[in-house]
Point group: none
Chain length 421, copies 2
């Protein structure tokens, strides 16, 4: 079953409010086999709302709108849709009684403008709103199905969950949209695409989307329209094939973060970590300690932003700083080793780089970052040049620092036990 | 001038990605008098993209698309639009040369799949992308104006700013939507609302929106439909009135972050800072070093996640840890003082708390955080109990740590010299 969304509200078009309802509806609908095929946002006018709803019915035959059901003068969704479908509005006593009761519970009385909220298009099923004043509406018209929900996220969510999804599931009948993610890092999107080759054919009927971000490229595999068991089998196979091709750049077969994977890997090995951060200034420590329970594997570290701190706190020799500069392989190695030795941990990560926007030279451009991982089996260094802004360079550097240790541990990515679909 | 947005990507329809680009484009376009009148999201197929673009041109005559310009097989926006408009695609040497140069700068070579990115619809103006590999396109066709931008938020934003808005502004001209933000922190939304009282009347015709988030509550003031000069005057007055009522909880009269304001304040005073972080694990250092030029005021710090580190690296006495526990006023004070003394800075911030989900007790619940600021004029401590998840508690703790020093410095919030509208 396909569905279109129409989100109503001039504030959405002005851009001061981000439409999060749509994404939530799409995910929840997808999980019961209803596919959202288009989303349209329009302003608060009869013509725009009515037009968008009729166009959607013409294309897809089913539309869900959010917003414009409140008591104020800019709430016109109900009247616009009723007019577009040629349905008269009638005052519904049971809706009004509900409203009165709700207001009494809050120790208030409804205002005259609330009376419009008890007007119902002929033939509509009223979806009772126990979380606010604007009821939802479900209209099975000759032109198709129209569902109207309020735009307040919590009310929308509650009505969706309790009133809309059960009815939609009945119509859709069993076929689902399922999705899984293979997370990669430290490889550019185009290089990854070359590596994956004709993987789209290999994973069909699952479809593949590349989602590049500051943590790397996520590969999202989606299956639509199959039965539940078959979906799981197809996704399992597709995931394995994509992960095989992407190889060592894969760190997770689910939504977990690299820091979570790393904390898990260290915990399994009963090993501990400390960090020495210059250009990342605490971001690596911040990511690791985002993970609940990270204290089992993480002692802490030194934020060595000033060179004096690298010298004094980490014992990086002045001669090394003078000869190679602060952003160099020997300094990264000295930092990683000092973190390990000083905190008495199994591993140390050292990071030093030029995050910009100033400070770059032709030999050492903005984006240059030296990493080192010191461990029981010695110290290895890695050099990257990251594109982007200061924020992007730092985020990528933090991710790469975590990745280098993760890869050093030789941990194979595993899916979390409970994979949330 | 009116404009429609078409955001492309099956991901958006599945709901796993929230479309933040649309809101940003709408805001920026509104600020130069271009009104977004409809937004449509469609999947990655030729038919859906071509259909949506032609419909938008038929209704409004101008459309801006985002997404689907990358090198992978699911990127079909360019070919779909070219086909819909009946324009052949040609290989453009100058686009390819740009791509080669960009890759060389990163020490890489483009892959064969990147070649499709150099294909350009006949008659299109190429909007050079210095922030990624997918150039934007501007097509003045007989059917209307089509602008195509990549979907990666940063690339979209940069192309919008540098290539699209100047061209659109030339076409549009006229009445504007302007907005300014008064940023507050360390005060709950409802307390802030009580403090502001009947401010809505006082600031009219500007409108006020409360935007609560992890960094505090932003107060957004907006003016629509006035001439440019009058807009500025109304906003200036409204901003001043809101800031006056919100008082010491205001840290910025523009979009700048608290870390930026703090770095500015320290720079003006020629003073320096070091940190000692336990529950925030590096987040405070991370926020400060997000600010370009922060090295002038920030030396670094110690991430003292394990108690052993608090003892050994920060000299917190074992007796104090034993008597009061790691999350306590004396430990926070000892941490702040140790950071200051050890790094030889003017100020030290110490933070220790229980971020959860585990580790809480009736006396010391999850969310309890002790802060201390040590400075030339002594050490002061502060206790907070934050609601929310581990992530929220940590984010709020980092923000509060910065705020306590900012307030200690007695810095008055100032707007940045160049306010971006």
């Amino acid at each position: 079953m396909n569905l279109e969304l129409v989100t109503v509200g001039t504030e959405l078009l002005l851009g001061f409010t981000v439409d999060t309802n749509s994404a939530e509806i799409a995910r929840r609908a997808g999980a019961i086999g209803v596919r959202v095929v288009r989303r349209t946002s329009v302003g608060d006018t009869d013509a725009e709302i009515g037009g968008a709803v009729l166009e959607a019915l013409g294309r897809t035959g089913a539309v869900l709108s959010t917003g414009g059901l409140g008591p104020t003068s800019d709430d016109v969704t109900k009247t616009a849709v009723a007019a577009a479908l040629g349905l008269p509005l009638r005052f519904a006593d049971h809706v009004w009684d509900d409203l009165l009761e709700r207001y009494q519970g809050l120790g208030r009385t409804p205002s005259p403008s609330n009376r419009t909220q008890a007007m119902v298009p002929e033939g509509a099923v009223v979806l009772r709103n126990r979380w606010g004043t604007a009821p939802g509406l479900w209209i099975d018209s000759p032109r198709g199905l129209v569902i109207m929900l309020p735009g307040v996220p919590r009310e929308m969510r509650m009505l969706l969950e309790h009133e809309v999804l059960p009815r939609l599931a009945e119509r859709a009948g069993g076929r689902v949209v399922r999705s899984r993610t293979v997370r990669t890092t430290a490889i550019p999107e185009s290089t990854l695409a070359d590596r994956l080759g004709d993987v789209e054919q290999a994973v069909a009927p699952a479809t593949l989307a590349y989602l590049p971000g500051l943590e790397g490229v996520d590969l999202r595999l989606t299956v639509q329209g199959l039965e539940s068991d078959e979906s799981d089998r197809v996704l399992e196979r597709a995931c394995a094939e994509v992960a095989r091709r992407a190889g060592e750049f894969v760190y997770a077969l689910d939504e977990s973060s690299l820091a979570e994977r790393l904390v898990d890997a260290l915990r399994t090995r009963e090993q501990r970590l400390a960090v020495a951060e210059s250009c990342t200034g605490g971001l690596i420590g911040g990511r690791i300690t985002d993970v609940p329970g990270s204290s089992v594997v993480f002692d802490g570290g030194v934020i060595a932003y000033a060179n004096a701190v690298k010298l004094r706190e980490l014992g990086v020799p002045q001669e090394v700083l003078d000869a190679h500069g602060a952003v160099s392989e020997p300094v990264a190695c000295a930092m990683a080793e000092a973190a390990r030795t000083r905190f008495g941990t199994d591993y140390g990560i050292g990071v030093t780089g030029i995050a910009g926007p100033g400070g770059g030279t032709p030999e050492k451009p903005v984006g240059l970052v030296w990493f080192a991982v010191a461990g029981p089996d010695g110290t290895s260094a890695h050099r990257s040049i990251f594109p982007g802004s200061r924020e992007e360079i730092r985020a990528r550097a933090a991710q790469t620092g975590l990745y280098l240790l993760y890869r050093r541990l030789g941990a194979a990515p595993t899916a979390a036990v409970e994979y949330p679909v």
